[in-house]
Symmetry: D2
């Protein structure tokens, strides 16, 4: 019925691992297909085929990975320009060392990705506090898998954060399946913005 | 089928005027009811009755009006604590003098309101670029009615921004009506976050 | 030589406790005076007397306490309007339960306070990663004292975060003392913005 | 006495033009040198030589140009890691089509650059409202030169915004010259963060 595309950038494979968990959550929603692509390999066609879009990035200097930004600038901006994604569904997640224990800049990093989704006119799915494992990386904008225990370390997403990542993928997929089911969540520009029919 | 509650704070009546226009847009979606309340008068019951929630504020010092913040702190935070709004639908708008011509801080002000909606676990409706009158106050997070022409002036929302405000109310109402139509957009906590049934 | 004013809002006394620690740090810089005021008691004169300003708040629904916002709207906005604080020095801190372990919204909350300082035209002092105890609540925008261990708990700032709060007060005071020492950091509007003399 | 480095990314030469104007402002402060570099050509040594750093970018999809982000990720993050820029001075500016008239996302774009400066531990210079030409692109975080009049156009920075860009460069340079004059604004890590000497 619907397809959700998960796009990630990854330095050490940890964000890729987190993205795979998000994708597993998408698949738990009956009738939903998932595609998992790195920012380096994803194509314009992958995006246009998707009813839902989930962006994930490590936190670099308080914002997202430059490879994901390049994909946004070079590919997604053209879809923005033509209003081709309006009314579809999106969500975000992030990973990071999290040195400081105060989020390490993950909030602005997620907002940078959410700004892209909003520019595209996409409906945004947040992360409810009641989500399973919220205590292990939950932020209202999306899940944050803490891949590190001090300033410099790089470790895989902790096991206790995996259910949270999965639940987020599931939530996004569920909204995809519920939003205009007859069109698999793809609300055409006219029906979204024109005067009431 | 669904009810959308528009909550605003207003100093000179200009944000109230903008809120009324957003409410008119909600009403254009067949089967949707609208309620318009100031931050000083709205009650917990008003919020619990609503399938959709739209928050609007003038921009004060780069963020929202303190009266709206008090309502958020005193009333909405309790609903957040009990996860009572999860899966419902929300949107935001702002007004402001806009001195400088660079948004005047409306983006962080809108994000402050959107953070509240995300904390509540609500699905967020942005403002697509293709929306009518986008050139007159369009920002991807929501409409911004510029109520002023220089540093100190206070004027009503410009006529050319009214269709944009109306369209935003309409978009939010449309997503309310499409998201789980059988439950009027009110997705119960279990169906939103639990493992797939 | 210079005076730093620390303004806080507090629900349970924990942010007041954090503010007191920040104030202790200010006092460690020779020749600097400190004043500690709640948002409910601080006056316009307190602000005008200060060469440096530090704002602190608990995180409520992803932004600041409404009492601090009221003070900003009612008192600081008038100083903004008259450009009376331009060139002085500022910083921020926050406290919060931090449920989720991903900052709990402290970044946007700090940015909401920093937007106020920027609107006032004040030079902003961040929190360098090399600061003592950065691992215990360090964020680049300022220190975050985590007052809680789960969704609902409220506890005092942890002991290991106190040196971080103190160091931040000290850093702000140090910049106050170094910025235009002859005027104790108070750069008048003309010297800040006019063509080079 | 001090050196200010202006780094920009540019698609059509308009942000390069804006950066040149910022650089002119730096030069108006007696005793200050300026260097102007694109994100593609700037080196680690350029950054280490600078007492002040100004970052500028076009707004792309609500955040900064990927080429500037790549420079941040690949070069500045290493300086962050070693705490080599702590206590120096920074500022930001942006350009953009500004379709919508509400800032077009320039605020989060500027905050993305400011997050980098804050991560580096740099003192941040905002844009005071009383600055000359503030009405033509003034935002409290920095100047925004609107390079476009509708959704798709690309035009040079408007003439009336040039004094604003220049004033911002001048303000940053002035703080560089005032902050620890004997060290040209370069506050070594120990003196910035250690207990009072």
């Amino acid at each position: 019925m619907g397809t959700v595309l998960v796009i990630y950038a990854s330095d050490y494979g940890h964000t890729k691992r987190a993205a795979a968990e998000v994708a597993l959550g998408v698949e738990r929603v009956v009738g939903t297909n998932v595609r998992l692509r790195s920012a380096a390999e994803v194509t314009r066609e992958d995006v246009l085929d998707a009813d839902g879009l989930i962006l994930g990035s490590p936190v670099h200097m308080g914002s997202i990975h430059w490879e994901l930004k390049r994909f946004i600038d070079e590919t997604l901006s053209a879809l923005w320009n033509q209003d081709l994604m309006v009314g579809r569904v999106g969500g975000v997640f992030a990973t990071g060392g999290g040195y400081g224990g105060a989020g390490g800049g993950c909030e602005l990093a997620m907002l940078s990705m959410l700004a892209t989704l909003a520019e595209l006119g996409m409906v945004i799915v947040p992360l409810p506090k009641c989500t399973e494992s919220y205590a292990h990386g939950g932020l209202h904008w999306g899940p944050y898998a803490r891949c590190g225990s001090d300033e410099l370390s790089h470790t895989p997403p902790p096991a206790e954060s995996l259910p949270l990542l999965m639940a987020h993928g599931q939530n996004v997929a569920r909204v995809v399946s519920q939003l205009s089911p007859q069109t698999a969540g793809r609300i055409a520009r006219p029906s979204f913005t024109s005067p009431q029919t």
